[in-house]
Symmetry: C2
Subunit: 151 residues, 2 copies
DNA sequence: TGCAAATAGTACGAATTCGAACTATATAGA
DNA sequence: TCTATATAGTTCGAATTCGTACTATTTGCA
């Protein structure tokens, strides 16, 4: 592949990396003290998918090692945002439940992001995002599948 | 903002986050043992912009705290990929120079990414990327500017 | 049924990130 | 010129990420 084309793909992933970095900072600025993006991701997942998920199930969903999730869940439990109970279907396993405080924390974060989304929407209307999303989704799905083939 | 629209913006940043995670893993799988993405980012920057940059200059370019860069540069120096010399223009400062080994390492990583880019190009031709890039760049620039206004 | 292999989760330690505090040098203004 | 302030970089310690090794339980199959 020639250098010009190579640079194009480099720029694609570079822009994506910067957007990711900035948007994570935005999210974390809107979370209560000590909560970071991975905590929010868990809370959000438990509301969107429904709670009662197992740690391993979430580790796979987020593509992180299970030891990482153990640590994240411990932080959420310490703060009283989730409860971990034994899994009645499998003695090795646990199930993760949201507390009222956990639900409230997630909803507050979503609400606190709203002003930001409004500002972005002023420059990037939902129609624009709807135009961008399918290709991004296709790219995500494609490179995700590539992972099995090329590490 | 209504929930449907909110979900749209959420999905945008979520897709971007996943692509970033996977592409970093791809890069790191192609780097010599112990080198990680931030190391490569520094090497690549020193070639693209030219070496002789100061640590602070790079910390700003990558939007990371200068203490993070101290650590990354120490790793590169240990491995003989860069050399840090005093800055003749400013006694407080240093300048970072690539070694031959550093240049070679960066070039090898680029070469090792080529097969991957080819596979992506089969599904996402350069024209497609050229279509996606301007909007992504515009989004990056916009939220980067937002940072000054909203944290 | 019994036992080897697989699976869920945790403990521990190394590497990375990053804020606070520190040293050394440069700069600006009285 | 002198001194207060700003700036470049490092040190240190806490939090996060993640690989290895471990325990407990389940599953597969002889």
């Amino acid at each position: 592949m020639d250098d010009v084309k190579q640079l194009l793909y480099f720029r694609l992933f570079n822009e994506i990396g910067i957007i990711q970095q900035i948007s994570t900072a935005f999210l974390e600025a809107r979370l209560p003290d000590g909560l970071i993006a991975p905590h929010f991701t868990v809370l959000n997942h438990l509301i969107r998918v429904s709670d009662g998920r197992t740690p391993l199930e979430m580790a796979r969903a987020f593509q992180v090692p299970k030891t990482t999730l153990t640590h994240t869940l411990a932080g959420l439990e310490e703060r009283g945002l989730i409860e971990m109970r034994p899994n009645p279907d499998d003695g090795r396993s646990k199930r993760v439940w949201l507390t009222d405080k956990g639900r409230a924390t997630r909803n507050q974060a979503i609400a606190d992001l709203d002003d930001l989304f409004e500002m972005i929407a002023a420059e990037f209307p939902s129609e624009t995002v709807e135009d961008m999303l399918p290709e991004l989704e296709r790219l995500r799905i494609f490179i995700d599948a590539l992972r099995d083939r090329v590490t």
